[in-house]
């Protein structure tokens, strides 16, 4: 497999100008927010609260410890953060979607991140040796022999080919199921930086098993 095929690949984006594609509703949103109209910011915030409530509602089972009004407070808090992010990045909006869809993604990001962090609040990250034990547990009858063999080779490559940081990130994300936002917070880094580390680790593992002729 050519290494270039595993590199990050920039999205294909058609060059569009905002003014050429905006529908009247979206144009009104942009004009009002650029003008700093307080009423528009209030409407934006209300939209973000709606998006955040929707996301928190979808994840209600992960918020069992919170009372209803705490969930609503969380929706407002995450909408506050999303509102700041939207206003800061207003000039990035290229009109490639409806304004409301663009706005909702900020609310969903903030709310989903908050839920993941709350769900892991007070929990320690698993120790690497515990994770290794789980990784070496027998696969069980449902795992075919060739899959077990491949897993052995992947384990060897994790041990021998990855840097300590790559190993830590890969094991936490792929084996322990630590959410990437939670790991980013604990390691004082960003989600994007961690995903790049995960991507590099996976590429190394795939290269290792390909070298051995397993795949």
């Amino acid at each position: 497999m050519a290494s270039v095929a595993l590199e990050y690949f920039p999205a294909t984006v058609s060059p569009v100008t905002v003014s050429s594609v905006l529908d009247p509703e979206t144009r009104a949103w942009i004009d009002d927010l650029r003008a700093g109209r307080e009423e528009a910011v209030e409407r934006l915030h209300a939209l973000l609260v709606r998006g955040a409530r929707y996301e928190l509602g979808r994840r209600r089972s992960q918020l069992a410890a919170l009372r209803i009004h705490d969930v609503d407070d969380l929706a407002v808090q995450t909408a506050d953060d999303a509102c700041i992010a939207v206003l800061k990045r207003l000039e990035d909006f290229r009109g490639e979607s409806r304004f409301t869809t663009w706005v909702y993604k900020f609310a969903i990001l903030q709310a989903s991140t908050a839920v993941r962090r709350l769900a892991w609040r007070g929990r320690e990250l698993p120790q690497e040796d515990e994770t290794w034990e789980r990784l070496h547990a027998p696969g069980g009858p449902e795992l075919a022999a060739e899959r077990n063999e491949l897993l052995d080779e992947v384990r060897d490559a994790i041990r021998d080919r990855l840097t300590p940081h790559q190993r830590r990130v890969l094991l936490a994300l792929a084996v322990d199921g630590v959410p990437i936002d939670v790991l980013a917070e604990r390691l004082s880094t960003t989600r994007n930086a961690l995903y790049k580390t995960l991507h590099d680790a996976r590429r190394t593992l795939r290269g290792a098993v390909t070298e051995r002729g397993t795949t």
Binding site: I108, K196, H199, L205
Partner: protein, 71 residues
Amino acid sequence: MNDLLGRLLGPAEPQLDCDECFAHLDRYVELELAGEDADTAVVGMHAHLEGCPACAEEHESLLELAGGLRR
């Protein structure tokens, strides 16, 4: 990509990173809702969503929320 080996090895295809995914998520979702070929229009999104559970969850939510607005 739910099994252990899948999570360890990840998708082999070229893919976006999380920041790029976020930047193009709204456009990708609207193309999906319009029944257009979102994967051709935003190359690398599908593989990223396979390899990143957090972005995949957010994609699913936005698809539902934006889709609900259209109904």
